[in-house]
């Protein structure tokens, strides 16, 4: 399943679909970092609004994506985690520690704009 990746200035926006397989996630991990390199992006927003479950593999992959992207000097923000999914995740101890999160795309972009303003 192809995950659409859009470019908005220095920010890449990847919109996860529901039910991504482990293979899809692996493919995505490589793909996103390559895109960051190609476009010299400063940040990636991963929108998981459509995901109604988040298992430990998906959660770990998201953290790995964020770490890899940080090694390229870019920031990752996960947006759109649904209340039910958040609840299930913390019960399983999947807290996405060390990864920035925001309510939705709008909030994610606002957070990044603020961050860039502070560091520029």
């Amino acid at each position: 399943m192809e995950v659409p990746i859009l470019k908005q200035g220095a920010v890449l926006i990847a919109t996860f679909q529901a039910a991504l397989s482990d293979a899809d996630l692996n493919h995505l991990r490589m793909g996103l970092v390559q895109q960051v390199v190609k476009f010299r992006s400063r940040a990636v927003i991963v929108d998981v609004t459509a995901m109604d479950v988040m298992d430990s593999f998906a959660s770990r992959t998201l953290r790995e994506i964020a770490h890899m992207i940080r090694l390229r000097g870019a920031e990752t923000v996960i947006v759109g985690i649904q209340p039910e999914v958040a609840f299930a995740m913390v019960q399983l101890g999947l807290t996405l520690e060390g990864v920035a999160t925001a309510l939705d795309l709008e909030e994610g972009l606002a957070y990044l704009t603020q961050k860039f303003k502070n560091t520029d």
């Binding site: 209340p83 958040a86 807290t95 999160t101």
Partner: protein
Amino acid sequence: MPKRENTSKDSGARSHPGTDLVRSEAPSELLRELVAHLRQNRTQLREEWVVRITETRLLTAMTKDEIFAEATSVYDSYVEALETEAFEALQAYARNLSERIIPRGVETHEVVGIVLLLRDVLARSLFAKYQTDFKKLNRILDAYEPAANRIANTVAVGFVQERERVIRQQQEAIRELSTPVLQVRERLLILPIIGVIDPQRARQLTEQLLRGIRTNRAKVVVIDITGVAAMDVTVANHLVQTVEASRLLGATVIVTGLSPEIAQTLVTIGVDLGKMNTVGDLQGGIEQAERLLGYKVVTLAESR
């Protein structure tokens, strides 16, 4: 040697020396006869029943007209249940009736009482009708009693089920009312918790808060637990999970009002205090929240 065979072919009719020939009817036929009698004497029997209800001082919460109206529909449903043996329909009727009369303050013993009174009134009328034929009366009662008992049972169970449903509904309402999620500024929610938190309430709290964060697009939440005296380890863990889940929705949580006992519990379970933002009291918590959101509160004198 030729055998002597008994060749009586009458089904159900036996001839014993010394007794009369007895015609035994099928139970359903008896029931039909019984129901017909109850329908024919409907007005009189219903009136008798209402008199008994008033004499026994039942349904005091209702007016005479109301009692009469309900008595009519109960009587008809009773007789119909006897006739059709459709007890599910009767149970549905009983629940429906209960829904109407429970808010009027009618008690279980009153409902069971009036159904039993009706059973007695009808039984008496059967005694009167068949008093000259004791054997027939017995057979009629054989058909009537199990059905009447089943009706009393069904109505009582229906009534109790309805009461339980109302209680559950009220408990749910109380639980919801007692954990309000309040928006006090743009992007700022306050969740004041008062009383005892059990794991079920803790879970409900978390769900309500997460929904509130999404609906109100909150960036900061102040959870005030001044009103919570004690918290066991399970609930303390729930609180930590609430903080973590809120962060996944992009909201920062500030916990205020921790009592010394609760502070002890949190330290004991090894909560990573780096993850938990705490401030002494609610006022302090709101002030910090405002700072986080970029607000600054000044008095009118200062702002000139």
